[in-house]
């Protein structure tokens, strides 16, 4: 692994973001709108239901966590798609970069993109709604880390599809998160789902992450098992995604997708 090359690819995207005010605005705009909207919904539910035990901000916290996952996953896909849209894909793959270097660079850049969008939105929650996501304490870091890994995993899976099938796979890039959201039990406990769906949900790290976030905020207790299961499922899916990416890269080399990649 070469840190210089990883830094080089990071720079390519860093320049792209910092050169364009609309791009930065776009990164900040959607999380802010999303979190403001869920902030008001959260306040309403907290005052009108007993389930949340007046734990103001449960929904909002989950919305922030979900948005982080969404931004990380979409961010990773966007970085990959940028190369296709700009017809730079071939240049990138004829540069002496190892797959691991490309992935590492995109993983770091995706995190920075997500944080650019999310930090201002999180800072807004305190003055607007009197809520601080830091109430999750030290476990907040573990939950964020778990979501980050899953977001990156989804990004790598979609990028594998882009490598294997070309730009026609782009629509899937936008829809993955929406497909998984119902099973993630982001805003409701898993018991809400029908039994069959529960079985699927238990095979996703999301359910453990969001159940634990609610557990900490509502019951003021920590269930390490939830965090453990989230990481275990993450490890499995992340390994699969890496394997699929390498597989797709080799398949693309056989099929010729790398040469003709572009809109």
């Amino acid at each position: 692994m070469s840190l210089i090359r990883i830094y080089g690819l990071f720079l390519r995207h860093f320049y792209l973001i910092t050169r364009s005010f609309p791009r930065i605005l776009d990164l900040v705009y959607w999380p802010t709108i999303q979190i403001t909207l869920w902030g008001f919904i959260s306040n309403f539910f907290a005052n009108h239901t007993t389930y949340y035990n007046n734990a103001v901000g449960v929904i909002l916290t989950c919305a922030i966590l979900y948005d982080f996952l969404f931004r990380t996953s979409i961010g990773f896909n966007m970085l990959f798609l940028e190369e296709i849209w700009s017809r730079n894909f071939t240049n990138l793959f004829i540069a002496p970069m190892r797959i691991g270097e490309i992935l590492t660079s995109l993983v770091i850049t995706a995190l920075i993109r997500s944080l650019i969008g999310l930090v201002p939105a999180i800072l807004l929650t305190s003055p607007l709604f009197g809520i601080s996501i830091l109430d999750l304490g030290i476990f907040l870091f573990l939950l964020f880390l778990s979501l980050y890994i899953f977001g990156i995993t989804l990004g790598i899976l979609v990028s594998s599809g882009l490598l294997r099938f070309g730009p026609s796979f782009e629509n899937i890039a936008w829809s993955t998160m929406f497909l998984l959201a119902p099973f993630g039990c982001i805003y409701y406990p898993i018991e809400t789902l029908p039994e069959v769906f529960q079985k699927i949900a238990y095979m996703l790290p999301l359910v453990y992450i969001f159940e634990e976030a609610r557990n900490i905020l509502i019951n003021q207790a920590v269930d390490i098992e939830n965090i453990y299961y989230a990481f275990m499922w993450n490890a499995l899916y992340f390994s699969i995604s890496i394997f699929l990416f390498y597989y797709s890269f080799n398949a693309a080399k056989n099929k010729g997708t790398l040469i003709n990649m572009g809109e």
Binding site: S2, I4, R5, Y7, G8, L9, L11, R12, Y15, L16, R19, S20, E82, S86, R87, N88, F89, T90, N91, L92, F93, I94, A95, P96, M97, R98, N250, K253, N254, K255, G256, L258, I259, G262
Partner: protein, 245 residues
Amino acid sequence: MKNLIEVKNIKKNYGKKEAVKGITFNVEENEILGLLGPNGSGKTTTIGMLLGLLKPTSGQIFINNLILEENRIQILEMINFISPYIELPKKLTVKQNLYVYSKLYKVKNIKERIEYLSEKLRIGELLDSITGELSSGQKNRVSLAKALINEPKVLLLDEPTASLDPEVGDFVRTFLEEYRKEKKISILLASHNMNEVTRLCKSVLMMKNGEIVDQGTPDDLITKHGRTNLEEVFLKLSRSKSEFN
């Protein structure tokens, strides 16, 4: 003279379709080899295999005596490519693009390298311009600068002067000739511009339907086929069905 590119009986099949049917050729150090052929003849597929973007169905490629499949990264460090069909990120400035690729190729003395190429390719005044806002002639010179950023031993050129006006086209050809002489690099040039090929290439491969149908120096081919220039040779070989199909 040492061969920097050695292609040994490479084939590429897409399912049942044979895109390249077992071709063999070498490119010596300090040589420009022309790769000619009609659209669909297998030129781009061949270049794709040389760049490691396509895996040959069979056969082997050696670059500087290293097997491509086993030494991909090491080989990619010493080759580069330019084509009008690929571009540099449009929103970045020229200098940013060259800087990014310098990092990707782990270039030492980046500043000096960019300054050298800027002067040679007359892009000094473009360094702070947005790449996507350049004219095609300017973009071409910037792409060439990117392709030379790592001081490649082997340069693959796919229609390097397509869509350029005669003045810029001539500038690029002159530059390539001088650069090749100075650095003793090997160049594989795929082009539809027969005058360009005649001017630059020591020898030429004619491809059709995935095969090499003829090869030799431009003069030898013209004489052998009883024509007055390379374009007529190209047309003869492209249109001939019975002979080569």
